[in-house]
Symmetry: C2
Subunit: 413 residues, 2 copies
């Protein structure tokens, strides 16, 4: 199975997927170990290190008003343009844990610095799991030391496993990317299945390349591609306290990517496709997800287009209809109306899988049998036309299933 | 079982509940008939009439940008301060039905005027049911004529049944209210189980009194009490295209309620308790609802307090935890943080059923066994303290259950 397996994400021609045995890009090593945070005994502490002193990096975080301790440490105590290592754990988010939690995150950073042989500000910290429970520092720092001994260029799979929580499958890829200046490598490890949206969500994503980028270029590329990927998905409309995306560039390939060059454009295309596909995997692995929806909204008002897309993607009624394979487009009209109060009568156009069901706010006759068949697939596309033109957005979202309820009604107990 | 059966709504001492045989307040008659809109053959057309020419009234409607035809007719073609009749149907919302739908709503209004012997602007129209399907005018207008022949002071139960959709139980009450100027009657019929929030939702509510109020006083009382009741509930965070609340005052008791009088205060208290209890019944009958939550948010910023209450009440993670009897308060912190982006670190206080679980943004040790027992009841109260003081709000919300998914994944198919 190819990584790029979705009709909504085009794999660029200059990108090649590598097989199972691929190592990380030159300069990187990773490991994942078990320190006992997960009741299952599964891998729960990950360490990712770049051995190159000229490594550049960029990072993006959740916009929540309740920031987890590891996010605070990243924002306050890291040189985000020159990260050399990431320490991450699953099983506990270290969020709503106050000063003791902040101390634990600092201890993780210090253990990571020791493990990677770098200064503390070069080490990012990321956590995911239950909120409001103190993360015990001792097993985690011990796990980081153990991971340091296990660091390996082939450690990507274990690292990815160590950041998974309710994820049903791993979200990971190793790519070769042909740039005009030479061929570079890109690898990425990602997790996320719930508490996803409206920003990129808990959702951790780590991307490595051996291309040589300035920290500014890395920041630009990560910023643009995160906006088009992790910012455009919703599982449950819930913004996590811990969302983190980090791009690290070792430069070990010797291929320099200069600002506004063809190399930058091509690498950007590769990152864009990679992050969009990973974002889609988050939705596909959304807790209890059976079907994935894509809503495309066009119109003249950029803010209105965004609001309608969010309202549709987050609507439990739309999501339940998606789950049931029910072409109940009235709920799409309802969600759009809710997003744009006081605009009635709204001349709304709605298509489901290219079948127009509503024109100018009014139901239109259509082939109901064809529509019922179209919404029975694993991916369903909704298009909404608002008045005017020039603005467009898309959002990917999961359905609402019995399984989502089961997972989330039984989480901590 | 008393109508006022919830610890969160106090029944005023001057309000008495009447038994099953109670008629409507003096001047009112109602009926409900079956015209074939409901596949089940159940009652689906309701007619409510005041025989008093001095009847005053007030109305409130959804703020959706996608307004159903009956709402457009009410807003554009009614004298909302002097309504004499209501025609209502279930089984079809007459929403997203364009000009033909508007004509059908006008035909319902005309049939209602004929039935009540009044001018068309004195007749309000309300519909609830599926969106985006043309409502056939003929069976409905025929049903209205049939209902006219069945009008009766004891017709409240049939009228209430005729406006129900996925409602599992009727939401209806008949009261006697002692005012300084004399005793008056209040009756109310309400429906709603899904597409509930953030404004009062499909949600129809009709209230009758034989007190004599000016249209301005009726409007003031309805406006204030709707804001404190139907505006403060959420089943699924979805705003309907059809929400309608109408208060009609026949004046037939001879008791005048003057502005800013003790009579107005007492009648307002009675309406307030009645509408709050009806709003609670909407939540309790929320699709698939097993447990009802109440969130109270205090702080210094009125807008922030509102946003946090909505975010908590609408969060599928909080709702699923409520369903599972899971004291997972981290999701409350998450929802609050999502509602207030960029405010970290937020010194959040959280209590569940008076057990403090978070102080100043940090988990506090608590009796987990007592907490687990407290969230196992049918009603769970959450309190959230934000920085500052002076602002406070409450919201009632349902849980998210397997049954909600089942109902909404199988609705039209």
């Amino acid at each position: 199975v190819s990584f790029f397996d979705c009709r909504w994400v085009e794999a660029p021609g200059h990108v090649r997927e590598l097989g199972d045995g691929a190592t990380l890009p030159a300069g990187f090593r990773a490991a994942g170990v078990a320190c006992g945070l997960k009741g299952s005994g599964g891998l729960d502490v990950g360490l990712l290190v770049s051995d190159s002193p000229r490594t550049t990096s960029a990072a993006r975080f959740t916009r929540s008003g309740v920031l987890a301790a590891p996010v605070l440490v990243c924002q306050d105590r890291c040189d985000l343009g020159a990260l050399r290592a990431v320490v991450a754990n699953s099983g506990n988010a270290n969020a709503a844990t106050g000063a003791p939690g902040f101390e634990t995150a600092l201890a993780m950073q210090a253990a990571g610095a020791e493990a990677a042989g770098v200064e503390a500000p070069g080490v990012a910290v990321a956590s995911t799991g239950v909120i409001g429970v103190q993360l015990p520092a001792e097993p985690v720092t011990r796990g980081i030391a153990e991971a340091a001994r296990a660091l390996d260029p082939g450690g990507s799979r274990d690292f990815a496993a160590a950041i998974m929580t309710t994820d049903a499958f791993e979200k990971r890829v190793d790519l070769e990317v042909d740039l005009p200046g030479g061929t570079v490598r890109v690898s990425a490890q990602c997790k996320g299945a719930g508490m996803i949206s409206p920003a990129f969500a808990t959702m951790l994503c780590f991307v490595q390349t051996d291309a040589a980028l300035s920290a500014e270029t890395a920041d630009l590329l990560l910023g643009v591609t995160v906006k088009r990927s992790f910012d455009r998905v919703s599982v449950d409309g819930q913004l996590s306290t811990n969302d983190t995306a980090i791009l690290m560039c070792s430069g070990e390939s010797g291929v320099r990517v200069e600002p506004e060059s063809e190399d930058e454009l091509r690498l950007g295309e590769a990152l864009d496709a990679t992050l969009r596909q990973l974002a889609l995997l988050l939705v596909r692995d959304g807790e209890g997800c059976g079907r994935v929806g894509r809503v495309v909204v066009t119109g003249g008002d950029p803010a209105g287009v965004q609001r309608v897309a969010r309202a549709v993607a987050d609507s439990p009624l739309v999501k339940a209809a998606l789950h049931g394979g029910d072409p109940n487009w009235g709920r799409i009209a309802q969600a759009a109306g809710m997003a744009l109060p006081g605009t009635a009568p709204l001349p709304l156009d709605i298509w489901i899988e290219d079948v127009q069901v509503c024109s100018g706010g009014q139901a239109v006759p259509h082939d109901e049998r064809a529509l019922a068949a179209a919404v029975g697939g694993t991916e369903v596309e909704y298009a909404i036309g608002l008045p005017g033109a020039g603005a467009e957005t898309e959002l990917f979202f999961s359905d609402l299933s019995h399984e989502y309820v089961r997972i989330n009604a039984e989480y901590t107990t």
